[in-house]
Symmetry: C2
Subunit: 180 residues, 2 copies
Amino acid sequence: MVRSDARENRARILQAAREALAEDGSASMNQIAQRAGVGPGTLYRNFPTREALALAVYQDEVERITGSVPELLAGMPPLEALRHWTTDLVEAMRRKHGLGDALSPGAHQAMSEQSYGPVIAAITQLLDAGKKDGSIRTDADPGDFLQLTGALWRAASGPEDRSPRMLALILDGLRTQPQR
Amino acid sequence: MVRSDARENRARILQAAREALAEDGSASMNQIAQRAGVGPGTLYRNFPTREALALAVYQDEVERITGSVPELLAGMPPLEALRHWTTDLVEAMRRKHGLGDALSPGAHQAMSEQSYGPVIAAITQLLDAGKKDGSIRTDADPGDFLQLTGALWRAASGPEDRSPRMLALILDGLRTQPQR
DNA sequence: ACGTTATGCGGAGACCTCTCCGCTTACTTT
DNA sequence: AAAGTAAGCGGAGAGGTCTCCGCATAACGT
């Protein structure tokens, strides 16, 4: 059974985090807890890491992005779809400050299936489409790709945005046929 | 003029950090300062970030790695040299806990030229050799490559080491001619 | 040798992350 | 309605990062 106050607290935390992160991307966990009117303990029990919180706050966005895969695949070849999708993802991560780190699974603990799963699933769909039509090498691994995406995010946050060039490089590595 | 006590303090900090990091890779900055017999302020004045300190401590190692480039290039084709070099780098970063983050320039501030430069220089040498003999595409950027190396490091720290597969992918992206 | 000066010291302290645990309280059972 | 119970709360606090600034003192001119 889920206690009613627990449900309300969770909602209030998400609301507070949404506001606080919108105002200041680097709002502290303490500030968010205070704003939500709960203790730090409650915040951390609901969201063990800052990343888990950020991911929950932006879950709509994550869903939007992961959900756009079929549409992309319908309208263009797999490799192009993958490029667009990844660009979208990186763009969203940059806009929503703090989301980026959430997608580096190896860094700390394995992310919860809940939030890490959909992203991997989306990548898997895209890669599989390319493997099926022969444009993407069959040994491409979704986890590897996500990991590299983390580097893209970091690159996009820098002064000069290297990410398009880096993405092109990665995609060329995924190809079966050279396109150069 | 450099004050003598300043010079000594810097040396003592490096010594203490070397020992402390050898014993426990996640030794706190405070612990290191205490061990060196200086205040936290002095530690942070000499090494603004944990990464700067780690890089200074392992500078020999960094020099060894960056210095091995000519030898590698003499003994094998550029792409192979690049693979070996990068594997070495990732391996060293994994062994010496805490070095890895130091090589992600975009993450926080631009790294000091002193420490970031040699690594970029080494990569530049390797890429240039490949560009010259036509095996590496001419638009390959050393900064991009370093950034991707950061992802490799993170990948190597995880439970399963994806880094060789990821490196292969990146190198295939750098190629001018397909090799598959 | 002796002031003068400004370089560098280092600890107090602001603020952070994250944990632990005694108390509160929503739900269940009778 | 009353009592039982365990889920959940939240604050105290341990330990961390990093800054600021009054004070000590090394280097220099005389």
